[in-house]
Symmetry: C2
Subunit: 197 residues, 2 copies
């Protein structure tokens, strides 16, 4: 069939999330069809990203600078620190454009099943960042899953001795959501956290 290089490329692309062997084959044909406008720039950009992008030593964000662009951006409020599970969550908050403080990426959640303990998360780095005394509020933005909530509790405990305000994201009805389609837990949380109009 196709040569060994093409086969290897198909196998590598098939390991990306969202692509299987069949869509990887289609992707390879597409890449070869658009060689100059897609394949060549993609190869170069992949190489550049592989060589320059690293995790920020301060917050764990991925960037070609270290400390990263967010950590060094003086227009961002360094008194606000948002704790997220992963870089994907950081990107989601940045896309929404709703937060102008700094971040701290844990790199996962506590999970007894998966054998992830406190030492596997970057919690010590978070505590160390409190020493500067500049952080006024830590916003815990872990996912609203069992693991995320467990991790949030653990971090709250660890931060208890620090002179810092701790908050978490609100639970409630998603904007645009319909009550009829919501689960009981969310409805209960939304009712409990109701706000005066």
């Amino acid at each position: 069939m196709a040569g060994p290089e093409i086969e290897r490329l198909i196998q590598l692309l098939a390991r990306l999330p969202g692509l299987g062997p069949r869509s990887a084959r289609r992707a390879v044909l597409h890449l070869l069809k658009k060689k100059d406008t897609l394949l060549v720039p993609l190869a170069a950009t992949l190489r550049e990203v592989g060589e320059t992008v690293h995790a920020c030593d301060t917050c764990g964000n991925l960037d070609s600078r270290n400390p990263c662009g967010i950590c060094t951006d003086s227009r961002r409020d360094e008194a606000l620190l948002c704790v997220v599970e992963s870089v994907a969550d950081l990107w989601a908050l940045e896309r929404a454009g709703v937060f102008r403080g700094r971040y701290h990426v844990l790199g996962g959640t506590l999970s007894a099943l998966d054998g992830v303990g406190p030492d596997d998360l970057n919690v010590d780095g978070l505590i160390a960042r409190m020493q500067s005394g500049k952080v006024r509020e830590v916003i815990i933005a872990t996912n609203a899953t069992v693991e995320g909530q467990t991790t949030a509790h653990y971090i709250t405990d660890r931060l208890a001795s620090q002179n810092v305000q701790i908050s978490r994201l609100a639970h409630g009805v998603p904007v645009g959501g319909e009550l009829d389609y919501l689960d009981d837990g969310t409805l209960g949380a939304a009712l409990k956290a109701r706000r005066p109009l």
Copy 2:
């Protein structure tokens, strides 16, 4: 948010079929997590494929050799020539392992709507391959779509003056298929082409 290199990588990956902006972002995070085992080999393989893989001058298949591995494979029957629309179709036949002759890739189908005329397809190359006198049978394996059938008719006309047998793939019930779910056209074709047991 992420640096310009990451943004560029997301944009390039999002142009692959089967990936959108969201899955491209997930793919980039996955690539950065598996930098040594996935990102670096992928960048190198993409570059290698981009530099070495070209369309075979004889049949139009994509390979790092020219003529390609199939055209130069002496174990394949050069008296049988299978005409396909695209390299994807060639790969599909090779995956099935049901054909041991040579191929000819047209590079598309006739389509008045998309402005694809006979000159846009590699039909002259097909006629030229008849001159050697070695081809005994041409199997037209265009898709069973309107464009594919139109193209098949056109090729049959063009080959009429050549001393060569012309055939096309059979229509019928897909193996494993149920009659109840088949369209009328396929059922009619299967009935018309019924074979004695």
